[in-house]
């Protein structure tokens, strides 16, 4: 440990300027986070900070390079474990300790008790280890210099952006966690192997395999698989099932949903549904549905439902398939992810009030007024913002009651803001010219509390597509 500390001190002495820049970036990001009453945080600052961390860690690894056979350190009496320990200590001191401390400061400044959120703060550090620290150490350990590393990072980021574009709904937690786990585990294996054995060609292959595996996990997980994982971890307390309803739906009512359809190539079909198994006091939200149409003779056509509610689903049928089987009786099978939830207790806030709301963290409301210079009247909007370290998985409901008792509703969609320890949700309500909501206006905030997940199987037989077509 004494030698690890000695090497660590040398690295700090070498890169003090870089560490100072990273700390300044950290302070700037946190000052904005502490002061923010809007979810529009300067995310690029967080990206800069992550780049600074990765660069600092990579430079420190390259300070005692593992690639090559001319390094000064390799015949010095330091075991590889000592060297690795010194680099991990450096990453801890330069990346994780400041980041953890910053989270504590932000939480405390925003009115939360940091010790109550120790678990989620540590989890964030584990994620940073898996996504930033270990992959960076691993790459720096198998690449000769910083330029090679930068090129490799650009390549991997490019590949990831490409992968994100080909995956529908790529921001689910299961996909992110599994990809990060593969990256972290691979990064750890490559790091360990290269520090212990310095067999660069072989560890490079292991590194390439790790990136390929992570990208494969990222692109190959289907929404149904993701939903099954959620359902296994947190199963729904009820059994939801669907049947085809007898209620016919005129296509004009759904014109907005088919407006952007490529009706030359596809025929939008709307199947009316009735749902059972959802307890009356509970709600259900549906994810993307994967549907197979099986024609007589066994020909299968796979499609995603472009719209799915408890009353109906719209499926795009390729015109050639429709022309052959539109009049035939087909079977429709598939799966859809469902999350059951209930509405929590509603909390009322006056304009300009800030306080905890159960299930929504801390919420604040304010009037953003723009004085009309000509008339001297107020003109602007009111907004409600909630922030929570728990990052709730479901949005909340915000209702704004005007002075004249009219009310408007909006959803509070949660968004993680870069590296902030807080997830934030915001809704705005425009005001009429001259309207001042302060005397009697109020906000009702209701959390949606998830109860569990279910992957619902769809199995409808004997359907004639022609009966459900929206646009011929």
């Amino acid at each position: 440990m004494r030698l690890a500390l000695h090497i660590f001190k040398k690295d700090v002495r070498r890169f003090w300027w870089g560490i100072a820049i990273a700390l300044l970036l950290q302070i700037a990001a946190d000052s904005l986070d502490v002061a923010a009453n809007t979810i529009v945080l300067p995310v690029p600052l967080d990206w800069l900070l992550m780049v600074a961390w990765a660069a600092l860690v990579a430079l420190a690894v390259h300070e005692d390079p593992l690639v090559g056979d001319r390094q000064f350190w390799i015949t010095r009496p330091a075991r590889w474990r000592v060297l690795l320990a010194s680099k991990l200590l450096y990453a801890l001191a330069v990346v994780h300790a400041p980041s953890f401390l910053a989270d504590v400061v932000v939480l405390a400044a925003r009115g939360f008790r940091p010790w109550e959120w120790l678990g989620s703060m540590l989890l964030k550090q584990v994620a940073l280890v898996a996504v930033v620290t270990l992959p960076t150490i691993a790459m720096a350990a198998v690449l000769r210099n910083f330029a090679h590393l930068a090129l490799a990072v650009i390549g991997i980021v490019g590949l990831t952006v490409f992968a994100s574009n080909i995956v529908v709904g790529a921001d689910d937690e299961v996909r992110t966690v599994l990809t990060a786990a593969v990256l972290g585990a691979g990064g750890l294996a490559v790091t360990w192997w290269q520090f212990a054995r310095r067999r660069t060609s072989r560890t490079r292959l292991a590194g390439i395999a790790t990136v390929a595996a992570a990208e494969l996990v990222f692109v190959s997980l289907t929404p149904v698989f993701v939903a099954r994982v959620y359902a296994a971890v947190d199963p729904a307390p009820a059994r939801v099932s669907f049947h085809v309803s007898e209620v016919s739906i005129a296509w004009r009512d759904f014109a907005p949903y088919v407006r952007y359809s490529d009706t030359a190539a596809y025929v939008p079909v709307n199947v009316p549904l009735s749902v059972s198994g959802i307890p009356t006091e509970e709600q259900c939200l549906f994810g993307p549905a994967l549907v197979y149409v099986i024609a007589p003779g066994g020909e299968r056509m796979e499609s995603r439902a472009t719209y799915f509610t408890r009353e109906m689903m719209i499926v795009q049928i390729p015109r050639s398939f429709y022309q052959r089987f539109g009049n035939a009786k087909v079977n429709l099978k598939g799966t859809v992810a469902a999350v059951l939830y209930r509405l929590g207790s509603t909390a009322s806030l006056r304009v300009g009030e800030r306080r905890p709301v159960p299930g929504m963290g801390r919420c604040s409301t304010e009037l953003v007024a723009i004085p009309e210079i000509a008339s001297g009247e107020l003109h602007g909007f009111t907004q409600v913002e909630c922030e929570s370290p728990a990052s709730p998985s479901l949005p909340g409901l915000a209702e704004f009651w005007s002075a004249d008792l009219s009310h408007r509703t909006a959803q509070l969609e949660w968004r993680s803001a870069g590296l902030s320890p807080l997830a934030r949700a915001m809704a705005t309500f425009p005001l009429s010219p001259g309207e001042d909501p302060r005397p009697s206006g109020k906000f009702d905030i209701t959390p949606e509390i998830p109860l569990g997940w279910q992957v619902v199987d769809l199995d409808f037989s004997g359907l004639r597509l022609q009966d459900y077509v929206l646009v011929q």
Binding site: R2, L3, H6, K10, F72, I74, P77
Partner: protein, 311 residues
């Protein structure tokens, strides 16, 4: 006492290149052992394999009684290594560099380091990147001698240095013997001759010889025989007579197993009409040249055919 450095059929193969072929040597304690050979002979590969910087393909090496593959911090704390192309932490100032190295060695002696700094005239407040090549080697050597290593390995340490610097470095290394054993590689034969106690020669990865310097100098002799009248060079000359050449009545060769008594008898047997025989001691450079020339049979045959018409 176990030899501080020994190898047994040590080989290292790179794709398409046999860099080291079954090297077997034993370096006695307190020796200054010079591994010689032309550029690309495998000297650096040998040292890197010894230090486990590169893994041997086959065979084994032992340093301070430990298999080279198992060398650990304990052994490296007793080994000093300086190479001509070592990557140094160029950003460090000399003073910080030495104090940084200090922590790695339990046996580090500040008074030795101070003495080396004084003798080498090292500027403590200058960064390594701003030092000349000679000064960098001095700094590296200071960091490798201040803990009084038992085994000092030097890979072409004196290449490109001026004579004064070389002398300084050689003196500093020799001062450590016989407590330390020195193993160094070089392709500069003249500088080695003055201080090496043992010498080995490597060519294309193969060891041609390895022995004590005194024994080597003693057994190699340059012989010149003057005949009474021109005669054909016999085909069955002893194998120890290297590179025989004839020019008129004068025959020259190198006797690689020189023994005055036996030599006299052999001369009488092969050249009965010899009028005069001169035996001259050889420099290391001349010995190596003779061995290298003898190791190339095609060249030897060509040389013979070249001289034949003159007879």
């Amino acid at each position: 006492m176990r030899a501080p450095l020994r190898t047994e059929r040590l080989s290292k193969t790179f794709p398409h290149v046999d860099a080291l072929r079954e090297l077997t040597i034993e370096v006695p304690e307190g020796a200054v052992f010079a591994l010689l050979g032309p550029n690309g002979a495998g000297k650096t590969t040998a040292i890197k394999t010894l230090l486990n910087i590169q893994e041997p393909t086959s065979g084994r090496a032992e340093l301070l009684g430990v298999d080279s593959r198992s060398l650990g911090a304990g052994e490296f704390a007793r080994i000093g290594y300086v190479s001509e192309n070592q990557q140094m932490p160029e950003w460090m100032k000399v003073g910080y560099f030495l104090s940084y190295c200090r922590e790695f060695y339990p046996d580090w002696r500040d008074e030795d380091a101070a003495e080396l700094v004084r003798v080498f005239e090292l500027p403590l407040d200058r960064r390594l990147r701003h030092l000349s090549r000679g000064m960098k080697v001095k700094a590296a050597l200071a960091s490798s001698l201040a803990y009084r290593p038992k085994l000092i390995l030097l890979d072409e340490p004196f290449g490109g240095l001026d004579v004064l610097v070389r002398e300084q470095l050689i003196e500093s290394v020799l001062e450590r013997t016989p407590e330390a054993t020195v193993f160094l590689s070089s392709h500069d034969l003249s500088e080695i001759e003055s201080f090496a106690s043992h010498v080995a020669y490597l060519n294309e990865g193969r060891l041609l010889f390895a022995e004590e310097m005194a024994a080597l100098s003693g057994r190699f002799c340059e012989i010149e025989v003057t005949l009474g009248e021109p005669a054909e060079l016999p085909d069955d000359l002893p194998a120890a007579w290297l590179n025989p050449e004839q020019s008129g009545v004068v025959i020259g060769f190198v006797d690689s197993q020189y023994d005055p008594e036996r030599h006299r008898a052999d001369i009488q047997r092969f050249f009965p009409g010899a009028r005069d025989v001169t035996a001259r001691t050889m420099t290391l450079r001349a010995i190596i040249l003779a061995i290298s020339k003898a190791a190339r049979p095609s060249q030897r045959a060509r040389r013979k055919s070249e001289v034949t018409p003159c007879v």
